[in-house]
């Protein structure tokens, strides 16, 4: 068993090592002085963080509700009415499945669907409203959502949120709900119970969900390609840089961009884990 795990570890390390062998440090330094590469690094960091925070906002309450409306909870509240109970169970499965769709969908499909969505009358009015908002805020150069930076964030969010919700649901499902019941008898309303009793216990899970969402967003490519385009210095994120370099016949550039992507991911993920989880061990006190 551990032998298989070890083989997998070796595979991953080898993948990174050959990348480093293919490109030299001077290549990386050179890339880092290219304003386009710097732009895509910054844009990646910013959009991933935004998408991850938004995912957490959505995932924490959604995951909580899903976990607390589990089979047992439904049973407890509707156990006396079998058909209502069965309907509720069915609806819960349906919602669960719907929330998994972004995970299952091929990336290109997500992109195309987003593109088409924003051509419906509703989508268009959102697009126009966004454009008016940016104009009002003094940034008339941002023309709405489609093919703009908001499209990147939305594309990343669409997929990342699904992963975050899954993680948060598992997290809350593993948290004993009896303290929350006690809090109810002490006079706390549902929301208070959620944020004073349940949420603090979910901190490690939230960090996991955040890092997962962030990492998913960093690797996001297909939907961005379709929905946000690959405009240089405009909607180019790191995964796009890798793709463009490859398409331009610049294999070395593609490898260097990949290495930057890996490094950024490792640094950010390790830092996030250390920083956010240190509170648990008293590090933040």
């Amino acid at each position: 068993m551990s032998g298989l795990g070890g083989l997998y570890l070796v595979l991953i390390i080898l993948l990174v090592v050959v990348d480093f062998q293919y490109a030299s440090w001077s290549d990386i330094r050179e890339s880092l002085s290219d304003e386009r590469v710097v732009f895509s690094i910054y844009l990646s960091l910013i959009t991933c963080s935004l998408a991850a925070i938004l995912s957490i906002w959505v995932a924490v309450p959604t995951g909580y509700v899903l976990a607390r409306l589990g089979r047992d909870a439904i049973q407890r509240h509707l156990g006396q009415k079998p058909w209502l109970n069965r309907l509720a169970q069915f609806l819960r499965h349906l919602v669960d499945t719907i929330l998994d769709i972004p995970i299952v969908l091929p990336p290109l499909v997500v992109g195309i669907s987003l593109l088409v969505l924003f051509q419906t009358p509703v989508g268009r009015s959102i697009d126009h409203a966004t454009q008016s908002f940016f104009s009002w805020a003094g940034f008339p150069g941002i023309r709405g959502i489609t093919y703009e930076i908001p499209a990147i964030i939305l594309a990343q969010f669409t997929v990342a949120a699904a992963f975050a919700i899954r993680t948060m649901r598992n997290t809350f499902e593993q948290i004993d709900d009896r303290p929350e019941l006690v809090a109810l008898t002490l006079g706390a309303r549902r929301f208070r119970v959620f944020h004073s009793v349940a949420l603090p216990q979910a901190w490690p899970g939230t960090v996991a969900a955040f890092t997962l969402a962030w990492a998913r967003s960093l690797g996001e490519f297909g939907p961005i390609l379709i929905f946000a385009g690959t405009a240089r210095m405009k909607t180019e994120v790191l995964s796009t840089t890798v793709y463009l370099n490859f398409q331009f016949g610049n294999l070395r550039g593609a490898v260097v961009a990949s290495l930057i992507l890996i490094s950024v991911a490792v640094v950010v993920l390790v830092a996030t884990r250390l920083l956010l989880l240190s509170g648990q061990k008293g590090g933040l006190r």
Partner: protein
């Protein structure tokens, strides 16, 4: 006076039907019954944590049958105390008071009072992890008493403790009952506790409640 009449609770295949129970004010009621007879289910229903099919629950003159748990004013000490894992002890105790928006000084006073009564002044700044079973049970009691509930429900409060702690808590419960003047509903399967603590004793027989002494 706490009155439960014709209460029916369904829980999958398990059902409690036609439960009647009435407790005089400030009594210490013991409800005995074998494990799995539905004692905990009944207590949860009284606390408002479990929907009921039929019947009514009166706390004094208030019909609380359809009230949510947070409006009922029933203190609940579950089995194994169930403290909030991430909350400091003093905060746990004053939780119910914060929820009721009590002034800070009054809160502090009440916490000190309870800490004194329950002998937990030395652990107020700690977190639940690492506390002994007896300490946990004292904290859970203090937490449930803080808002001066009309009824205090204790679910097997002594069963998980070792013998010496058991007798400590047992005498503590007596003191608490006397000092806080609260009506207590204490469920247990242990007849000794009934003899030792109860001013009124009920027994669950065939999912019916029978008063055995007073």
């Amino acid at each position: 006076m706490i009155r439960i009449s014709e209460l029916a609770i369904g829980q999958g295949d398990f059902r409690l039907e036609d439960v009647n129970l009435s407790l005089p004010d400030q009594c210490y009621a013991i409800l005995m019954g074998p494990t799995g007879c539905g004692k905990t289910t009944l207590i949860e229903a009284i606390c408002g944590l479990r929907p009921i099919c039929n019947g009514s629950i009166y706390l004094g003159n208030h019909n609380v049958t359809n009230q949510a748990a947070f409006d009922r004013n029933v203190g609940y000490v579950p089995q194994d105390s169930v403290l909030f894992p991430t909350m400091r002890i003093d905060h746990q105790i004053e939780f119910a008071l914060v929820v009721r928006k009590m002034a800070k000084n009054d809160r502090r006073q009440r916490v000190a009072e309870l800490a004194d009564l329950l002998g937990i002044g030395n652990i107020l700044k700690r977190f639940p992890q690492g506390l002994s079973g007896g300490e946990r049970q004292r904290v859970a009691l203090a937490r449930a008493l803080a808002f001066r509930p009309q009824l205090l429900c204790l679910d097997e409060p002594l069963s998980a403790l070792d013998a010496s702690t058991k007798s400590q808590i047992s005498s503590l419960l007596k003191r608490v009952h006397a000092q806080e003047k609260v009506t207590v509903l204490h469920i247990t399967h242990n007849p000794t506790e009934a003899v030792e603590l109860g001013t009124i004793v009920f027994r669950m027989v065939d999912q019916k409640i029978v008063q055995t002494s007073s």
